[in-house]
């Protein structure tokens, strides 16, 4: 088995809402005919635009879900229980979904690990047929803060099908170590809730700033007390930030265990090095939580992915001009920011509005349409052009 790293910024597979996506309908001549008539009736819209008004969660619709409950886990963390639309295809424990939620009118997409039972049965207070994610409000974390503090039951959210390779193999390995920190517990609690009966020897090291900030504290302790999981808590205020050398004491046989690790980037980087130095890098399976953070600056490189062009541009040159100078076939219009004829999807990076100085950072993995005539590079950008 090879070490797998799941980069959450580039989900593979899964469905996502596409511009003008048609509803895939049932096959068969009659159904196809009916669909053609429906499309002729709905043009220039598509039948789904009308059906979505009546039942946004129906089978065949873009996947959506309705928030059923938001249950606090700690002061800063909450579990969001969502009833998914009928197109929900299920998941493998450890996988994550992307959720698109409107905050102050703007849609934001984020990825969260699933913590409910994959067979759809009720568990840990999550009603049957619902999906659940748990998130911790972090400073500057627009979406997590919104979910924990402001979101209300009844809210309709956009969903993607589950994806990700941070899962247990079949059959499950004999000896397992879960190493988690903070909200990195979420994919692992998803595995524990689903796979615990199949797991015979589980060690779990979880790190948290303090005892009352341990998410799922009671559930984890119960497993420990019942002898199902050997839990070690590393509390920053008691033990200091986890020193990986401490593993030798906490889980002496950690080198023999298939290890699933999820937590902040610093821990992941340190652990990857530690496992490699020990000569067992294949035993480590990593889930990375945060997408790359872009620090806005002045100017930078612009990548036009489909034209396979990379150009350097300063902080005062509109991306449109930079692209045209490099011979990229850029859509364009008024060149003063009013006609929206130059809008191109940005897949990463940051741009600065030359009129106002306002910086827009690409923060999720959803393409962000950008007006190229009035924006300059503020951090290496990639465009879908």
């Amino acid at each position: 088995m090879t070490a797998s790293t799941t980069d959450r910024a580039t989900p593979r597979g899964g469905t996502r809402p596409r511009l003008g996506a048609h509803t895939p309908g049932p096959l068969g001549g009659l159904a196809r005919g009916a669909r053609r008539v429906a499309e002729a009736l709905a043009t220039p819209l598509v039948p789904a635009d009308y059906l979505d008004l009546i039942d946004p969660m129906r089978a065949g619709a873009d996947l959506r879900g309705r928030i059923v409950e938001i249950r606090p886990e700690t002061d800063d963390a909450a579990t969001v229980v969502i009833r998914p639309g009928r197109g929900w295809a299920g998941h493998v424990p450890g996988q994550y979904i992307r959720i698109g939620i409107d905050i102050d009118g703007v849609r934001h997409w984020r990825a969260y690990s699933l913590t409910h039972r994959a067979d759809g049965s009720a568990a840990a207070g999550i009603p049957a047929g619902c999906v659940a994610i748990t998130t911790k409000a972090i400073p500057d974390g627009k979406v997590s803060t919104h979910l924990v503090r402001r979101a209300r039951p009844g809210t309709l959210v956009m969903l993607d099908q589950a994806t990700g390779g941070f899962t247990l193999p079949v059959p499950a390995p004999a000896k397992v170590l879960f190493l988690t920190a903070g909200s990195g517990i979420t994919p692992v609690i998803g595995m524990l809730r689903n796979h615990l009966p199949e797991l015979t020897d589980v060690a779990h090291v979880h790190c948290a700033p303090s005892e009352h900030e341990v998410i799922f504290h009671r559930e984890l302790t119960e497993h420990h007390d019942a002898g199902r999981v050997a839990l070690s808590l590393n509390l920053d205020d008691v033990h200091g930030v986890l020193e990986l050398g401490r593993l030798d004491t906490l889980v002496p046989d950690w080198r023999e265990r298939e290890t699933w690790l999820c937590g902040p980037t610093a821990l992941l980087d340190a652990a990857e090095k530690h496992w490699a130095d020990t000569g067992v890098p294949d035993r480590l399976h990593v889930e990375r939580f945060r997408p790359t953070v872009v620090e806005p600056g002045e100017g930078g490189s612009v990548t036009f992915a489909r034209s396979e062009q990379v150009v350097e541009a300063d902080g005062a040159t509109p991306i449109l001009d930079a692209g045209e100078a490099a011979g990229v076939l850029m859509p364009s219009g008024c060149r003063m920011g009013i006609c929206y004829g130059c809008v191109v999807p940005m897949r990463g990076g940051a741009v600065r509005d030359l009129r106002t100085g306002e910086v827009t950072v690409h923060e999720s993995d959803e393409p962000l349409p950008v007006q190229t005539c009035i924006n300059a590079v503020a951090g290496a950008c990639e465009f879908d052009l």
């Binding site: 511009l19 009736l41 102050d104 009118g105 003063m336 006609c339 929206y340 030359l354 959803e366 009035i374």
Partner: protein
């Protein structure tokens, strides 16, 4: 969306270096000339110094920023509500029309209600929703279903072509003679400074005809059909190929639109023997929509008191001067809140032209501040009721069908002379 090499207009709009319109203050020393030179008539901004205009630019930039920063849930809820209302209204009206032939005491209630509902639905869809979404007013929500790059509207003109001729040409070159084809759409003389020709003698007829088939006129106009017919001898193969591609796009769109309104919906109504009445309902609804949109749109730039500008007056135009041109080149329609919604908030034409990508529900909120700014700067804020403004345009269309008055020659003599020339050459003369 336009790909750069496809449009001839493009080369001339491309600035060297940074577009001066991006900034209120240009790094280059600005020419000390009057900001705007009206053509022949007094310049309503003659009393403003370059510094005054720069000040206006800063004030408007700040106002724009203030509103854009405060966009949020309530705005998103507004547009979704309008879209939801329009779609339910359309579905309800279409459902009624399935029984449009059913008579109650010699009267067809379903026809009347369905036709009225469908007309209002089409007007909302074209104006408050389609026009504004295609302007990018709602792009900030990052909802791929309500986005300028994805929207297609219930109109003969394909969104892509509309966005080019409207968002790009009209909104950038508003009221610049020879640059903004919206000034009379190439078939009307709505400004004294547009040269007269015999063609315009019949413009009251053109005007009414244009209003009745407005959606097709817009499609032909966005396609630049007139320009193609006039210039095709001189066009390169590439330009002709582009035209043909665009033409096919329009024909496909018209086919889909006509199939929906005039074939499929009437066919469904056959269940109650209402095919013919459903057909008439769709014809009437499209006609009502055409007349209404035309009536609203002519009030935006053609009523008296609104300025037009010379081609040369916009060379090196700064952002402040551009703002000034938008304010002087547009006129509003006064009325109730319902009136503003049913005009797609084009009743706030001045505010819309200053900030074409601002959510339309905000125009009414900033209107008093724009009016105040213009009054403080002694600029005319043109506004009036729909009927007053529309009537003034109809009157203008009649008056300007004749040549301007000149010393020493009666207008009827000019017309008679031109008629004689036309009779001999079998041509109606140039349009501008």
């Amino acid at each position: 969306m336009t790909l750069a090499p496809q449009r001839a207009d493009h080369a001339s709009t491309k600035p060297q270096g940074i577009n001066p319109r991006l900034r209120v203050t240009s790094d280059e020393p600005r020419p000390q000339r009057a900001a705007l030179t009206g053509t022949g008539r007094p310049n309503p901004a003659a009393h403003l110094s370059p510094d005054d205009i720069e000040g206006i630019g800063h004030e408007l930039d700040a106002l724009r920023q203030e509103v854009m920063d405060s966009r949020g849930d309530r705005d998103a809820a507004y547009i979704r509500k309008v879209i939801r209302t329009q779609r339910y209204l359309e579905m309800g009206s279409r459902a009624l029309l399935l029984f449009s032939n059913v008579k109650v005491k010699g009267f067809r209630p379903a026809w009347w209600l369905g036709t009225a509902g469908l007309s209002v639905s089409k007007i909302l869809e074209n104006m408050e929703i389609g026009h504004n979404v295609m302007h990018g007013q709602w792009d900030w929500m990052r909802d791929p279903k309500i986005h300028s790059t994805a929207w297609e509207w219930d109109n003969a003109s394909p969104a892509s072509q509309w966005k080019h001729s409207h968002n790009e040409i009209h909104h950038t070159f508003t009221n610049v003679l020879g640059r903004d084809n919206d000034l009379g759409y190439g078939i009307l003389r709505v400004d004294e400074d547009q040269p007269w020709s015999l063609f315009y003698l019949f413009q009251p007829i053109w005007h009414v005809g244009n209003a009745l088939v407005f959606e097709y006129s817009i499609a032909a106009y966005d396609l630049e059909l007139g320009g193609y017919l006039a210039k095709r001898e001189r066009m390169s193969e590439e330009e002709k190929a582009t035209f043909r591609a665009n033409r096919n796009e329009v024909l496909q769109k018209i086919k889909r639109q006509a199939t929906k309104d005039y074939v499929v919906h009437p066919a469904l109504s056959a269940v109650s023997g209402s095919s013919r009445t459903t057909l008439t309902a769709n014809v009437v609804a499209n006609l009502v929509r055409n007349l209404w949109t035309n009536t609203v749109i002519i009030c935006g730039h053609f009523p008296p008191g609104i300025s037009t500008f010379e081609k040369t007056s916009i060379d090196g135009e700064t952002r402040g001067e551009w703002y000034l041109r938008q304010m002087l080149g547009s006129g509003n329609i006064s009325g109730t809140k319902a009136m503003h919604v049913i005009t797609g908030n084009l009743s706030h034409q001045i505010e819309h032209h200053l900030f074409p990508d601002m959510p339309s529900n905000r125009y009414a909120e900033i209107a008093p501040r724009i009016r105040d700014l213009m009054q403080r700067n002694d600029l005319p804020y043109v506004t009036g009721s729909l009927w007053k403004q529309a009537a003034s345009v109809y009157l203008k269309v009649v008056q300007l069908s004749l040549p301007n008055k000149v010393e020493g020659e009666r207008r009827r003599d000019v017309v008679r002379r031109e008629l004689g020339k036309a009779w001999r050459s079998k041509k109606l003369g140039r349009r501008y």
